[in-house]
């Protein structure tokens, strides 16, 4: 005890003690350039990517430039340095530098060390001048990043091909390009004690419920964590219910999906460093909607939506029903079908539940393997899976052919769910239902489905019931959930989200459409029908 005490006394601090860059906000920038330099060198000790160099402005004043290599645009750095060193004006001091000398729009004056450091760490060029207690941060960030490409997880036939990338500024610009309105707000947050990750909460201030924003602000400000590397961190930190397999946020890589959500009065959270943008409040129906539903013809979109609901049910229950029917309810299988199932099952050594588990677990493993593996090997895995797990297992008499069909149907069904995080929830829930089926037959299936329904009815995403607009029922919203109504009929925004303004479009078009069954120009004299 004594020993350690004395040791800690002796030990000199080798670093400026802070846990978050923001804490340095209390430290002002010193008047003396020497002192500043010492402090910075101290802070960036052993940081090979930080270059701190002294130079002279034209009038002879000493100055210091700090950049992080690889994060600033080198050409622009050169331009800035040239401007400062060769200035023909009688520039002296920070104000002149900023107002007269530097040919950049984004120049910020920082009064304290914290802000100044943060700017440098985000890729700005930092300038300190002798005898000045103000630092300049010049926004000439420029680093290598992935170019905009089609989102691989959310591809579509029709609709924009661009997807978000890892840079928050590019991402906000992609939304801004879709919504050219000052109502579009991108409220900045910086979270993560160590990582200092930039977040932007995006919303339309003329639509969104102010209370929703207040609640979001409260939740975000409560976050105190060392690092945020992906939007999943935020999702799990601020969601309503942690003990649910169901996602209470939708995430998307598509700017059009996010823009559409904003236009419904929802908000989006963009996290720097990930292309996945969170959208909330999200209800279950949202997870079954794809952006294409709104671009394709509405009849096809409706049918495809129904198909998705059907296959959602199949993905959840097909193996369970197979187990229940084949172990408890043989009586209600049509005789001929029963005979062929029995014939296929004759040589199988396992009971149905074990057989189903073997196949389902193998299938999940196969899928996991093909996600992790490089694409070139991924193909080999799928061939292996199809041959070994499918055909060979049947021929070896380990699993029966109907079970392979059941597993394939389930697999296909789970791929029809348009959002990935809803899909994995369903994949997970399949297993408890299978167990219930093997213990209690159809009774078990329906009890577990009831439990599931109860859980869903209990869930909320930022105050919005998860099963809305079905429970509580909002009749007006059924046209964008049960069916996909054509655009002229979706005059109002969804009711399940509280909004400041419900109206989406004017009356005239819809009245015209209802009267004529479409927009026709036969009443207009100036324009005649083409082809007449």
């Amino acid at each position: 005890m004594f020993f350690s005490k004395s040791k800690s006394k002796k030990k000199a601090k080798t670093y400026i003690d802070y846990t978050f860059v923001d804490e340095l906000k209390g430290q002002p920038i010193s008047n003396s350039l020497e002192e500043n330099k010492k402090k910075l060198k101290y802070l960036f000790n052993d940081c090979s990517d930080v270059s701190i160099s002294e130079f002279q402005i034209k009038n002879g004043q000493k100055a210091l430039s700090i950049i992080i290599s690889g994060m600033t645009n080198p050409e622009l750095v050169n331009q800035a340095m040239k401007a400062m060193m060769n200035t023909e004006n009688d520039a002296s001091g920070i104000d002149d530098l900023r107002n007269v000398v530097l040919p950049f729009a984004q120049v910020v004056e920082d009064q304290n060390l914290g802000d100044f450091l943060m700017h440098i760490l985000s890729g700005n060029l930092g300038i300190l001048v002798d005898n000045e207690s103000t630092g300049l941060a010049i926004g000439i960030t420029g680093f290598e990043m992935r170019s905009i490409s089609e989102p691989e997880t959310e591809s579509s036939i029709r609709g924009p091909r661009e997807g978000f990338i890892e840079n928050i500024r590019i991402n906000t610009s992609m939304i801004r390009r879709k919504i050219k309105s000052p109502h579009l707000k991108t409220k900045p947050y910086r979270l993560g004690r160590v990582t200092g990750t930039d977040l932007a909460v995006v919303y339309l201030d003329n639509l969104i419920d102010p209370n929703l924003l207040k609640e979001l602000d409260r939740r975000l400000n409560m976050i105190d964590i060392d690092g945020i590397l992906e939007s999943g961190y935020i999702e799990e930190l601020i969601q309503d219910n942690i003990y649910s397999p169901f996602p209470q946020f939708k995430f998307s890589e598509r700017p059009d999906t996010v823009a559409a959500a904003l236009l419904q009065g929802k908000f989006a959270i963009i996290v720097d460093g990930t292309p996945d943008v969170l959208i909330a409040p999200t209800v279950f129906i949202n997870l079954m909607q794809a952006s294409e539903d709104y671009y394709e013809r509405y009849m096809i979109a409706t049918l495809i939506r129904w198909l998705r609901y059907l296959f959602l049910f199949l993905a959840l229950t097909t193996p369970a029903f197979y187990i229940a029917f084949s172990t408890y309810h043989q009586d209600i299988i049509p005789t001929t079908l029963l005979l062929s199932i029995v014939a296929a099952h004759e040589a199988i050594p396992f009971p149905s539940i074990i057989e189903a588990l073997i196949m389902e677990v193998t299938f999940e493993a196969l899928r996991e393997a093909s996600v992790r593996l490089p694409k070139t090997i991924g193909q080999a895995v799928s061939i292996l899976g199809a041959l070994v797990v499918g055909q060979a297992a049947v021929e070896a008499g380990i699993v029966s052919a109907p079970m392979v069909i059941v597993v394939s149907v389930t697999g296909i069904a789970s791929f029809t769910i348009p959002t990935f995080n809803a899909g994995i929830a369903i994949r997970l829930l399949r297993f408890p239902i299978m167990f219930a089926a093997s213990l209690f037959g159809i009774f078990g299936i329906f009890m577990s489905l009831l439990l599931l329904l109860g859980h869903l009815a209990n869930l909320k995403s930022f105050g919005v019931p998860y099963l809305a607009p079905l429970a509580p029922l909002r009749l007006g919203d059924l046209k964008d959930s049960v069916v996909a109504a054509p655009w002229p009929f979706m005059k109002n925004r969804p009711e399940y989200v509280t909004l400041q303004n419900q109206k989406r479009m004017g009356n005239e078009l819809r009245q015209n459409v209802e009267k004529n069954g479409g927009l026709k120009n036969n009443e207009s004299e100036e324009v005649s029908d083409p082809g007449e």
Binding site: S326, Y328, D331, L339, A343, E346, F443
Partner: protein, 395 residues
């Protein structure tokens, strides 16, 4: 918020969880452990002992998993018939179960055959276990076999894998009044109606390379109460179909000119039966509308000619009338109300039925008179109006 005692909560949820295991659902049976009975037959033997014969499916021999998809290594004998005797049906089944490794299940039995001999002694007991055990299907068809009932199960018809299946499809076929066990029981138990059951036998196929035993639909067994008393065969069976107003399309052969026949398909029709009370008997006036089409004509008539068409219509009317009369004759002779006429009288004249006719219905039925008016219309002579090989007549 309500304060919840956690221990109490745990205790309660444990109790609820336990009830799950008391639901009696622990009858898990793997598919491999099932002996699936497809059809059963009941015969009566000496000393009133009942012989029960069961036809099982042997799906294991159907060529399942190991033989692969394309091969189809199906063997011929996938039906297996076993039989035993007992004082009740279940006793015999119990005896059979003792020599079987798989559990017999009757939930897929769609056909139940009784022999003529048993039917004549009464079939009431046969309905008992069917309704008592939930597994059993009341929608199974009940059939009367000419001769021994088990012969029908032992037959190996060519078209289906199991003779039980064959019988099922015959019982469900067009032009056959199908009566399942529920309907039969209902009919037997209620007044003013008697049941009829499909009547089948085993016959040899003709001129086939390998002569096989096929099952043939003969007509209907007529019952009074639960005892078989007669048979409707041939045109009588068709007549009965009209009388019961359970018409389904059938083809019949009508003599048009002397020794010249035509095949006519009865598409649909309507029958109205009106009972009238006369002093000493009941008169049923029957009106039949027939809608038919011509399928084959050996009389070389021209259906575009009104004369020919009228002749066809008239001959068809006579033919149907004769068929109905034939059925009536069987009903009156055997004193069994196969056409539910008693029910009709009861509905039209409930009071008189109660006072007079109900008590002595079979006697009244046997002396009832029938007037039949038929009205036929052949609407469709097919794609041609006359034989295409017939030469043109000079005008």
């Amino acid at each position: 918020m309500i304060q919840v005692n956690k221990k109490k909560l745990l205790f309660i949820s444990l109790c609820i969880f336990q009830t799950l295991f008391m639901t009696g659902c622990w009858d898990r049976t793997e598919l491999n452990d099932l002996a699936i009975a497809l059809a059963t037959a009941a015969d009566i033997e000496e000393d009133d002992v009942i012989r029960t014969t069961v036809q099982f499916a042997l799906p294991g021999k159907m060529g399942g998993a190991t033989s692969g998809g394309g091969g189809g290594g199906a063997e011929d004998n996938i039906a297996y018939v076993d039989s035993d005797v007992g004082t009740t049906l279940r006793e015999a089944v119990g005896k059979m179960q003792r020599r079987m490794s798989q559990r017999i299940t009757f939930s897929h039995r769609r056909v139940f055959i009784v022999s003529e001999e048993l039917a004549k002694k009464g079939i009431r007991d046969m309905f008992d276990t069917t309704a008592r055990v939930a597994q059993n299907r009341l929608s199974a068809y009940i059939i009367v076999a000419k001769g021994k009932a088990y012969d029908l199960l032992k037959a190996e018809p060519q078209f289906e894998r199991f003779s039980g299946e064959n019988i099922l499809y015959l019982a469900e076929a067009r032009g056959v009044i199908s009566v399942n066990m529920r309907q039969a029981a209902q009919s037997i138990s209620s007044f003013g109606s008697d049941t009829i059951l499909a009547y089948m036998t085993v016959t040899k196929s003709q001129l086939s390379n390998e002569i096989s035993d096929e099952i043939e639909f003969l007509g209907y067994a007529q019952f009074r109460d639960d005892k078989m008393v007669g048979i409707f065969e041939g045109e009588q069976a068709h007549g009965l179909m009209w009388l019961r107003n359970e018409l389904s399309p059938y083809t019949t052969i009508v003599e048009i000119k002397e020794d010249k026949y035509a095949a006519i398909n009865i598409k649909n029709g309507r029958i109205q039966i009106k009972p009238k009370l006369k002093e000493d008997h009941i008169e049923f006036s029957i009106k039949i509308d027939i809608n038919a089409n011509l399928v084959e004509d050996f009389s070389r008539s021209d259906m575009t000619k009104l004369n020919d068409k009228d002749l066809f219509n008239r001959k068809l009317e006579e033919h149907i009338k004769a068929a109905v009369e034939g059925a009536v004759k069987v009903i009156q002779e055997n004193k069994a109300d196969s056409a539910n006429l008693g029910l009709l009288v009861n509905r039209h004249f409930p009071k008189q039925w109660e006072e007079k006719y109900g008590k002595n219905w079979y006697e009244e039925l046997s002396k009832a008179k029938f007037t039949i008016i038929a009205n036929a219309n052949i609407t469709d002579a097919g794609l041609v109006s006359e034989n295409i090989s017939k030469g043109e007549e000079p005008e």
